[in-house]
Symmetry: D3
Subunit: 245 residues, 6 copies
C-alpha cells in the first residue's frame, strides 16, 4: 500500500504531504511592537517587528512607507557551530539573499502608501535550525508584522490597517524521487530538487524559487511541488488566523 511505503521514505516518518508541527507564539518580546516565536518542528525563529519613525533615505518625501527584514542565525543554531557574522565583518551572501526574500514577501501584502512615511523592520533570528528557516521566518514574520500594525492602530498612529492579506511560505522538494512538503535538514541536504513558495491568503503567488541540486527537473515535477506547496500554505494561513484570533 502506498501509505506504508511513503512513511518509509522520509526519515521523520512523515507522509509526503505532511508539514512538521507548526507553532506560532505571539507576544514573546517585552520590547518589540510585535513579536512571534515560530516553530516548524525543530526550526525555531524569533521574529520581532520594530516601528521606525523614519524611512530609508531613497524613500524620503515619497509619501509612502517601507517594510524590511533582517535575518540572522545564532552561531550554534546549527549542528556545526558557525562563525558569528559580526566577527566575520559582513553578512554572507546566503543571509542577504534570505533577508531580501523575507522583505519582498512581507511588502507584497502591505499597502505602503497607507503605512505612511514609516518603516517597520522585521528581525528574524534563528534560535535553532533544522531546515526551512526562511519559510518559517516569512510565516512568523507576518504575525509579528500584523501585531506591530495592531499596536499602531491601538495608538491611533494608523486609522486603517495597511495589511492587505496574509502571506506564508513553505518548501517542497524531490527527495528520494518523491515530491515531499516542508523538508527538514536531513531531507534538504539530500534532496534532488529544492524549492520555496511564498503565497498570499487568497492564493496568489508572491515568490517561487526552484533549484535543481542534482539533475535538472521537469515541468511536471515542478507542478507537483507547487501543488504540495499550495495546500501547505493554505494550512499555514489557517494557523496564522488561529494564532491572531
Amino acid at each position: 500500500m502506498e501509505t506504508a511505503t511513503d512513511t518509509q521514505i522520509r526519515p521523520s516518518k512523515r507522509m509526503p504531504a505532511d508539514m512538521r508541527p507548526v507553532r506560532l507564539e505571539r507576544g514573546v518580546s517585552k520590547h518589540a511592537e510585535g513579536s512571534c516565536l515560530v516553530r516548524f518542528g525543530d526550526t525555531h525563529v524569533l521574529c520581532t517587528a520594530s516601528l521606525d519613525s523614519g524611512v530609508p533615505p531613497w524613500l524620503r518625501g515619497a509619501g509612502k512607507g517601507w517594510v524590511t527584514a533582517e535575518y540572522g542565525m545564532l552561531p550554534r543554531a546549527t549542528n556545526e557551530r558557525m562563525r558569528r557574522e559580526s566577527t566575520a565583518g559582513k553578512q554572507s551572501g546566503r543571509t542577504q539573499e534570505i533577508q531580501r526574500l523575507i522583505g519582498r514577501s512581507l511588502r507584497a501584502v502591505v499597502d505602503l502608501k497607507a503605512l505612511g512615511e514609516r518603516q517597520i523592520v522585521v528581525d528574524c533570528d534563528v534560535i535553532q535550525a533544522d531546515g526551512g528557516t526562511r519559510t518559517a521566518a516569512i510565516t512568523g514574520g507576518w504575525v509579528a508584522l500584523r501585531d506591530c500594525i495592531e499596536w499602531m492602530m491601538a495608538r491611533q498612529i494608523l486609522q486603517t490597517s495597511p495589511l492587505i492579506d496574509h502571506v506564508a511560505a513553505i518548501s517542497a522538494g524531490i527527495y528520494r524521487e518523491t515530491p515531499v512538503l516542508d523538508l527538514d535538514y536531513v531531507e534538504d541536504s539530500a534532496a534532488e530538487t529544492d524549492s520555496n513558495f511564498v503565497m498570499t491568503g487568497s492564493g496568489g503567488i508572491v515568490e517561487i524559487q526552484g533549484t535543481a541540486e542534482g539533475a535538472p527537473f521537469s515541468e511536471a515535477e515542478f507542478g507537483q511541488l507547487m501543488g504540495l506547496a499550495r495546500d501547505g500554505i493554505a494550512r499555514l494561513v489557517e494557523l496564522q488566523k488561529l494564532a491572531i484570533s
Copy 2:
C-alpha cells in the same frame, strides 16, 4: 488584430515572445583560457573562464573539482553611476545573489568528478546594462566555460570533457498585463511579475525564480511565463551551438 496590438505594448516594439538580438563573441580576452562577450541587445557582459589549479579549502581531498562564478558591474554600466563595490568595501546582496545563481547554473552541467581537483572561475562583468544581466551572464558564461574546457583538453589536462550539457537562461515577465520574454530595463522596472529561468540543452529545469513586483500572480500566469522561457532558451542553446561550431 492581436499582432498590431502586441507591437504597441513593448517600448522596443518587440513581439511578446521576441528576444533581443543575441550575440556571442568568443576569444575576446588575450589572457583567459575561455572568454565570451555576450550581448542581449544593449546588455553587454564580458565572461572569462580562468583555470585555477586548486580547489576551495572545503573541497580539498574530495577528489572532485568546482566551478564558481563572480559577477560585477562597471560603475557606469547603468544609467545612474553606481558606487564601485571595491570602495564600498563589500559586494551588495544583489551581486552575491546573482553570482551564486550563475555558479549553481554552470555547475548543473559539469561533472565535477570528471573535472578533477581543479577549479574554474567564471567572471561575468557587466560592461553595459539594460536588463537581464544575469541571464546573459549564464548564457555567455557557458560559452567561456566550454572554451576553457576545450583549452584544457587541447593541453591534455583533461582527456574527456566534464561538460554534460548546455545551459542558458532568459527572463520572462508580465508587462502591462501581457506575458513577455527577455525584459529590457524599461520593461523590467515596470513589470508586474519578473522571473528568470535557467534550463539545460535537453530542456531540464535548473533554476526558477519568480517574483511578484506588484500584485501576486496566478499559477496560470506562471505557466505562460515558463512556456515563453522554454522556447527562448531553446533558441539560446541553438545560438550557443552556432557560436562554438
Copy 3:
C-alpha cells in the same frame, strides 16, 4: 521603618539586597554539547557551549586547551532596536569588552591543561535585555560549559573533569544613595555607581569592575557593594547546584 522605605526605593519594589528571580534552564539547544537559557528577571540570555577540536593558533602544541566566549544581542533585545553588528561590519567595543570578561571568568575555573588541546566556545546571546546581561551570561555560561564537559566525559573524551569550581556573577550599585544588588535597566541607567563582581563557588574573587557613573565613590561604599555581591553570588551558586542536580 527601614523596610517600608527600602521597598519604595527600587522601581521593582525589590529590597536592596534582593536579586531578581533567577531561572537556569538546561538542555535548550538540540545541537549544542551544553546549553542553558538563563533568566535574571526580564534579562534572558541563551548560552551554548560548543566543543571545537582545535585550539587557537597561538596555543598549538602547548599541551593545553582554551575556553573562550562570544557575546551578542538580538537587535530588538532592547527597548530601542539596535543596529545588527553583522551589518555594522564589526563588534562594538562594549560587546568585545563583555565577551572578554565572560571568557576570563570561565577560564578561571577550568584546568586548561586537564582539558587537553581542545577549545570550548561559549556563545552568550541576549534574547531580551533588562540590565545585567553580562552577569547572567557568566552565571548561565558556567552551566552550559559544565554540561559540555559532562558530555565529553560521557563520551570518554575526558576521563576527569577539568572543572575546578563554580563561577557566577552579579551586579551591585548605588541607586538613589542606597547600595542595591542586581540592577535592572531602569536602575542601571540612573545609578551613581555600577559594579560587577565575578566570584567562584568557594568565594574567591575572579573579577571586580567598579565604575562611578556620577560622583566618585568611597572605599566604604565599595565595601558595601562587595558585601551585597558576595551574598548574591553565594545564592547563584546554590541555584547552579540545584540546576545541575
Copy 4:
C-alpha cells in the same frame, strides 16, 4: 629583614610600594591645544588634547559637551612587533576597552555642562610600552586635557574651568605572593592578580578593575592592593600639580 627580602622580589629591585620614576612633560606638540608626554619608567605615552567644535551626534542640542579618548600603540612599542591596527582594519578589543576606560576616567572630573557644546578628544599613543600603559595614559591625559582647557580659557572660549578635580591611575597586583605597586611588563606577565585603580585628587574612586590571572584572590588581598594604589595615586596627583605649576 623585610627590606632586604623585598628588594629581591621585584626584577626591577623596586620596593613593593615603589612606583617607577614618573615624568610629565608638557607642551610637546606644536599643534595640539594641550599635550603631555608621560613616562612611567620605560612606558612612554604621548597624550594630546584636541578641541573639536562639534559634539557626537547623539549629544547634539543637549546643551553639554563631551570628552572622549582614543588609544593606540606604535607597532614596535612592544618587544614583539604588533600588526598595525589600520592594516588589520579594526581596533582590537583590548584597544577599545582601554580607550573607553580613559574616556570615562577623564569625564569623571569634567563638568560637561560647563564645557558647553564642544568635544575634547584626548589621543593617547604609546611610543614605548613596558606595562601600565593605560594608567600612564590617564595620568598624562589629564595634564593634556587641563592644558587644553587652559588654552580655551586664555582665548575666552570658556570663562570658568569645567575641570572639577585631578584624576590619575595606577596598577597594583600580587606578584610572587606579594602585593606590589605599578607593575612593569615582566611583573605584569607573571602576576597572579592584576588591578587598575583610577581615583581623583580628593581620593574618590572613579574606576576599579581587578582580575585574577591565576588563582582567585581574597577580599583581604584586594584591600591591600587598594591601599597601595591609594598612596600611589596621591603621589601621582602631587606630580601633576608640580607639572602644571
Copy 5:
C-alpha cells in the same frame, strides 16, 4: 647599423622610440555623458565620464567643481587572475595610487571655477592589461572628460568650456640598457628603470614619476627618457585631436 640592432632589443620588434598602435574609440557607452575605449596595443581601458550634480563635502560652497577618477581592473585583465577588489573588501595601494594620479592629471587641464559646483567622475576600467594601463587611462580619460563637457555645453549646463588644454601620458624606461618608449608588460617586468610622464598639449609637465627598479639611474639617463616621452605625448595629443575632430 644601429636600426638593425635596435629592432632586436624589444620583444615586440618596436624601435626604441616607437609607441604601440593607439586607438581612441569614442561614444562606446550608451549611458555615460562621455566615454572612450582607449587601446595602447593589447592594453584596453574603458573610460567613462559621469556628471555628478554635487561636489565632495569638503568643497561645498567653495564655488568650484571637481574632477576625480576611479580605476579598476577586471579580474582576468591580467595573465594571472587577480582577486576582485570588492571581495577583498578594499582597493589595493596600487589602485589608489593610480586613480589619484589620473585625477590629478585631468584636473591640471580643467578650470575648476569655470566648471561650477559640479563633479565629473572619470572611471577607468582595464578590460585587458599589457603594461601602461595608467598612461592609457589618462590619455583616454581626457577624451571621455572632453565629451562629457561637450555634452554639458550642448545642454547649456555650461556656456564656455572649462577645458584648458589636452593632457596625455606615456611611459618610458631603460630596457636592456636602452631607453625605450611605451613599455609593454614584458618590457615593464624586466626594465631597469620605469617612468611615467604626464604632459599637456602645450608641452607643460603635469607629473613625472621615475623609479629605479634595479640599479639607480643617472640624470643623463632620465633626460633621455624625458625626451622620448615628450615626443610620444606630442603624438598622443595629435591622436586625441584626430579622435575628437
Copy 6:
C-alpha cells in the same frame, strides 16, 4: 640684492637652497633592533626597524629577503586632528602611496640575496608633521635599517652587510616662482610645483616624483629642482654618516 630678496620669499626666512635643521637621533627605542628619531625642522618621524624571521608568502623559497615599510601618522601630528586610520578601518591612499615609496627606496640599497630569507620591517610614524614627512622617513628609515643590520651582524645572523649604499630623500618645489629646497607645510600648501627626490650616497637616482599643483612646469624648472635636490641629498648623506660614526 638677491639675498635680501630671497630671504623674504620663504616664510621661514630660509634661503632657497637651505634645508631645515636636520637631526638624526639613534637608539630611541628600547625594543627595536634599529631605531632613529629623525627631525627635519618641526617634522618629527620615529623610525624603527624590526627583524622578522619570515618573508612574505610570495617570496618563500626564493632564497632572498625583503625590506618593507609602513607609515602612519598620530592623529594630532597635524594642525587639524585627523581621523585615526584604525577607526576608519583602512589606510588612506596617501598612506599607502608613501609607505610603498619608502619601501622601494630602502630596497634600492639592500642586496636582498645577501639578506637571506628574512624580512626587515621599517615603521615610520609621524609624531609631528610640518611638510616633508616622506623624505624625513626615508632619510631616518635608512639609519634605523642600518642599525638593525649592525645588530644582526653583531649576533652573527649576517656575516657581511647587505647594505650597498646610503639612501636619502628631500623635496624641492617652486614657491612664489622660486625653486626652493625642503618645503615646510606652509610652502607645500602654496607651492606651484612639488617634487620629491630619492638618491643614493653615490648620487644615483632611485625615485623622482614631480607634480604640478597649479600650472604645468617646464623641463628647465624641473632641472633646477633636481639640482637643488642633488645638493640637499649630498648633505643628508653626510649627516647620516655623522650620525652612525
